[in-house]
């Protein structure tokens, strides 16, 4: 539960002010709502390192894809299967 999991930012879903943005991130097809306030220059299409619903950094695509498949093999992406609460 301590590792950040890379995923692709596919949509910006809310922008309350300049700093408080949320987006949809796809982790190999599983989509999660993610807070973007710690990666202010993240754009749609970027790959982000996400930890428990908060993006903490950016990574390049090749790295993101490799790390994700590694974590999946290791059974370290179970947390993504927890259903999101109803918004």
């Amino acid at each position: 539960m301590c590792l950040a999991i890379p995923g692709k930012l596919i949509a910006i879903t809310a922008m309350l002010d300049d700093t408080f943005r949320t987006g949809k991130v796809s982790f190999g097809g599983i989509q999660k709502e993610v807070n973007l306030c710690m990666v202010p220059n993240a754009q749609i299409g970027d790959y982000l390192l996400v930890h428990v619903g908060v993006a903490i950094g950016k990574v390049d695509e090749e790295e993101a894809v490799k790390v994700f498949s590694y974590l999946k093999n290791m059974g370290e992406v179970e947390e993504l299967h927890i259903p999101e609460i109803n918004k």
């Binding site: 807070n35 428990v52 619903g53 908060v54 609460i85 918004k87």
Partner: protein, 367 residues
């Protein structure tokens, strides 16, 4: 043992292994901090690839393992209050408290929810204005920004039914506690990559120079771990003790400053009791004065006795690098993943569970 071809970058893996064997002349003990690294080292058979002279021991970098029994009891106490929803990361549910686990409390009717993110707990508080929603905020520096952000967000929404039970732990003070132990055997550390994605690497310099201990910030894949080990052994063989960054693809020297700002907005550094290890001064985060209304310890009268640790579990010695899981008399007998006696048998990132699931019997018994 795995075939080399199963690894990402198998040629690189092979090259690092050869190089580690070539340069190692003396016995060295290295500790990886992060439970994700422990899991990776054990599951991928890396321990068997290393020279006999190199011993890897497994550090305290798993929040499931180090959250104290008393804090588990606090969480259970809160969960059992009327009109309360206690939210937690899933891994914490099976950790034994002094008389039961959160899972057992849930089975007897407490409203305990497993969430992916603390920010969802804030949503739950919005949806349930008649209930107190408490998030069980455990974790290392990597998790602190998300937990802090949940408090900032709840404050912006002016919620008076959201709070967190913080049990945050910090890596550098734990390293110092291990290095200053009289029995310390650690010659070098592999520091945890994603912790440093948040915090950067500067705070490790004083530790490296005070204890003459090389620290290499390392990722968690086999090729990362082998490169981190190589860099650490190289320093040890040369008599150096620097902070190096193997994981520069994710770790910047200064870390993520916005994330650090969020942490410092909500948390103050505090003493923290580590399960199995005991109190380590200034080794945790607690909610600060400004946000005290979001601190469950401040908001509720948590009236429980201090819980003693289970003496049968030697997890403290394991996390300090003094013993290996299989040296615990209960390993695999009284203590198994289905009925854990101690916390490191619970999550796959705990050293005992990693050895139970993957390790090849006796090759790792010696220390």
């Amino acid at each position: 043992m795995k075939y080399l071809s199963e690894y990402r970058d198998p040629e690189l893996v092979e090259e690092f292994i050869k190089e580690i064997h070539r340069i190692t002349t003396k016995p060295w003990t290295l500790m990886e901090i992060c439970g994700g690294q422990t899991h990776s080292l054990v599951k991928n058979g890396i321990l068997e690839m290393l020279p006999d002279k190199i011993t890897m021991v497994h550090g305290p970098g798993c929040p499931v393992c180090v959250t104290s029994v008393s804090v588990i009891d606090e969480a259970i106490f809160l969960a059992e209050q009327p009109n309360t929803i206690l939210c937690s990361f899933g891994d914490m549910l099976r950790v034994p408290g002094s008389s039961k686990s959160l899972l057992e409390a849930k089975a007897s009717g407490a409203d305990i929810r497993i969430l992916y993110s603390p920010l969802e707990a804030v949503q739950l508080a919005v949806q349930n204005p008649g209930k107190q929603v408490i998030f069980f905020a455990v974790g290392f520096e990597t998790t602190a920004p998300a937990n802090a952000l949940s408090v900032v967000h709840a404050a912006q929404l002016k919620l008076n039914n959201y709070s967190i039970l913080a049990s945050h732990v910090l890596v550098p003070p734990a390293m110092e506690a291990i290095l200053s132990d009289d029995e310390n055997k650690i010659d070098a550390f592999l520091a945890a990559g994603h912790v440093c994605t948040i915090m950067g690497i500067e705070e490790y310099h004083p530790v490296a120079s005070k204890y003459h201990c090389p620290i290499v910030v390392t990722g968690f894949e086999p090729v990362d771990l082998l490169q981190g080990i190589l860099m650490a052994v190289q320093q040890l063989e040369n008599g150096e003790y620097k902070v190096e960054n193997q994981y520069s693809r994710s770790v910047q020297r200064e870390g993520n400053v916005l994330a650090q700002n969020t942490i410092h907005k909500v948390f103050a550094i505090s003493d923290r009791i580590w399960r199995g290890i005991g109190n380590i001064p200034q080794s945790g985060y607690e909610v600060n004065e400004e946000y005290k209304n979001f601190n469950a310890r401040n908001k509720f009268n948590i009236d429980i006795p201090f819980a003693e640790e289970n003496k049968e579990c030697i997890s403290g010695d394991i996390m300090k690098g003094l013993k290996k899981p299989k040296q615990c008399p209960n390993f695999g007998s009284k203590c198994k993943p289905e009925h854990p006696l101690g916390a490191p048998m619970v999550s796959s990132e705990g050293a005992c569970a990693a050895y139970y699931h993957y390790a090849d019997a006796d090759s790792m018994l010696t220390i």
